[in-house]
Amino acid sequence: MTPSEIEAYVDASAAALGLKLRPDHRPGVLRYFALAAEFAALVEAVPLSERDEPALSFAPVSPREKAQ
């Protein structure tokens, strides 16, 4: 992402989330978002297929456990 793309994205997504960025916070937010974008490029470069599952799991909760 270019610096201007980052600024446009950060301002639009912050507005969509109802997150008002104060002028003294915004430069730091832009800097950290740019760092995250660099990290995103690294994980997107890992060769995965559609069959590669995420490291997420969900355990259904039975009524018995809740009653314990």
Binding site: G28, A40, V46, L48
Partner: protein
């Protein structure tokens, strides 16, 4: 031996002394409280000292020893041992701060965290809550709300973080045992910089119930101590499935697999590899010297590589940034200026990450776990530095590694993040002599659920004198 002298020993020796009636639990806990009083003005490891609760509990231990149930009490592994916990663990009646200003306003919990209860059931006595980076998002414990935690070996330097108080309290000889949390290195970094042993168990081993979360996908809890045998004692006391619901959804609820008896097995027959590539390129000479000293002592000459380590760290960063920020979104909206200035802007940015980045990071993480499992078919244990350097001075903004100038605060986790990203068990062992005055840690890493191996290796290194955790002299200056 006086209670004060005993406090410079490890927890195992203290429990033995109480067991043998050489000292009472009350005297031992009083010695710990006195030591905290004498040193914490300089160290700033504690955010709350529970004098009344601790002395009451210690008196109960002594009374139980003198009663009809004395023989059974005498068998408790941590009999009368004072301990303290990072202030993200619930303590009944005390607000769970998680290093923040915001949480001061919240109602204190009615119960102790699951692991606090388990340690007290094993005979230990809680004496206080410990300083940390706000919401565990940091590696330095330069907490702006309560002041920085100082490294007991050099008070002008950081203790590491985010469990800085947990590392410093053990190094300062205030308590022999503490608990902390590790999402990206927050046990291993302060253990390295403070010169103490730290255990980050396998992800999902210990229940996090009753602790303030940071990143549910990555949060681990674990102990700090001045010996590997103490880590094993505490770890064994904390294992096992939870009896009461609702349970920690990230805990595997495995049956306890005690490691204490395995410590004496030594390292013969273990296949030990030294992590090369990224793990050597991102370390200063003293960190490499420490790994090489450990490898030599273990007879490990084989260098092995994990693929795409930068991407492992990147995955951990993205998951942490997004999950951590989402947790605090309501407060970020309402009262961002009340957050720690050192991590506030990172939290705000994390709230904005596209979901596709985070989901890719979670898929990559699974892919890396599979690649690591392949490597563990060839080796049993891996070695790597725990931090790129010894403890930086308080306020350090940047440092240089291999000619590259890096931001100091996030870069302290360069070598720990790629390991915790895939949940491997690690013992950080403290090594001396690589720097004129300061310790540095080495990560002893094994396959999932093989905490026994990392503690066996840590114990062997301590027996050989390669790893050691002396009580700090700097913290002792001026008084006591």
């Amino acid at each position: 031996m006086s209670a004060a002298a005993l406090l410079r020993q490890d927890a195992s020796a203290m429990a033995d002394a109480v067991r043998g009636d050489a000292v009472s639990a009350v005297a031992l806990v009083q010695a710990s409280l006195d030591r905290i009083e004498a040193t914490d003005r300089r160290v700033n490891a504690f955010t709350a000292v529970l004098r009344e609760r601790a002395l009451r509990r210690a008196a109960q231990v002594d009374a139980s020893l003198a009663s009809a149930s004395g023989p059974r009490t005498r068998e408790l592994p941590l009999l009368g041992v004072p301990f303290a916990v990072k202030n993200l663990f619930d303590i009944a009646g005390l607000a769970t701060l998680a290093g923040s200003k915001i949480e001061r306003e919240h109602t204190p919990p009615r119960d102790d965290a699951a692991l606090v209860r388990r340690l007290e059931s094993a005979g230990a006595v809680l004496v206080g809550a410990l300083n940390m980076d706000e919401y565990a998002y940091g590696f330095t414990t330069e907490n702006s709300h309560v002041g920085p935690c100082h490294n007991p070996h050099d008070l002008t330097r950081i203790a590491g973080g985010s469990s800085g108080g947990s590392g410093a309290a053990v190094a300062a000889g205030q308590v022999p045992l503490t608990l902390g949390s590790d999402t990206n290195g927050s046990i291993r970094v302060p253990a390295s910089l403070c010169g103490v042993f730290g255990l980050k168990p396998t992800f999902g081993r210990l229940p996090r119930t009753g602790s303030f979360p940071f990143v549910s996908s990555l949060d681990h809890l674990g102990p700090f101590a001045r010996s590997a045998r103490d880590l094993a004692l505490a770890y064994d006391a904390m294992q096992g499935p939870e009896g009461r619901g609702p349970h920690d959804p990230g805990c595997a609820q495995r049956a306890a697999e005690p490691v204490g008896a395995a410590l004496a097995l030594g390292t013969q027959g273990l296949r030990i590899g030294v992590l090369g590539g990224y793990f050597r390129q991102h370390a200063q000479p003293e960190a490499l010297t420490a790994v090489d000293a450990v490898a030599q002592a273990l007879g490990a000459s084989r260098t092995v590589e994990l693929p795409m380590v930068e991407a492992r760290r990147a995955a951990a960063f993205l998951i942490t940034n997004s999950e951590g920020a989402a947790l605090h979104l309501p407060d970020l909206r309402r009262r961002a200026p009340d957050f720690e200035p050192l991590s506030r802007d990172r939290f705000l940015a994390g709230a904005l990450l596209p979901a596709a980045w985070v989901m890719q990071a979670q898929r990559v993480r699974r892919w890396f776990a599979l690649r690591a499992a392949e490597l563990f078919q060839e080796v049993d244990v891996l070695l790597a530095p725990a931090t790129p350097c010894v403890a930086p001075m308080l306020g350090t903004e940047t440092f240089t590694i291999n000619g590259q100038r890096l931001p100091a605060r996030p870069s302290l986790g360069l070598l720990t993040q790629p390991i915790s990203c895939i949940g491997l068990p690690v013992c950080a062992v403290p090594v001396w002599g690589c720097h004129p005055a300061l310790p540095i840690g080495v990560q002893v890493i094994a396959a999932p659920w093989r905490e026994d191996l990392v503690l066996r290796v840590a114990h062997a290194l301590q027996q050989q004198g390669v790893a050691a955790s002396p009580v700090a002299v700097a913290a002792t200056a001026e008084t006591t």
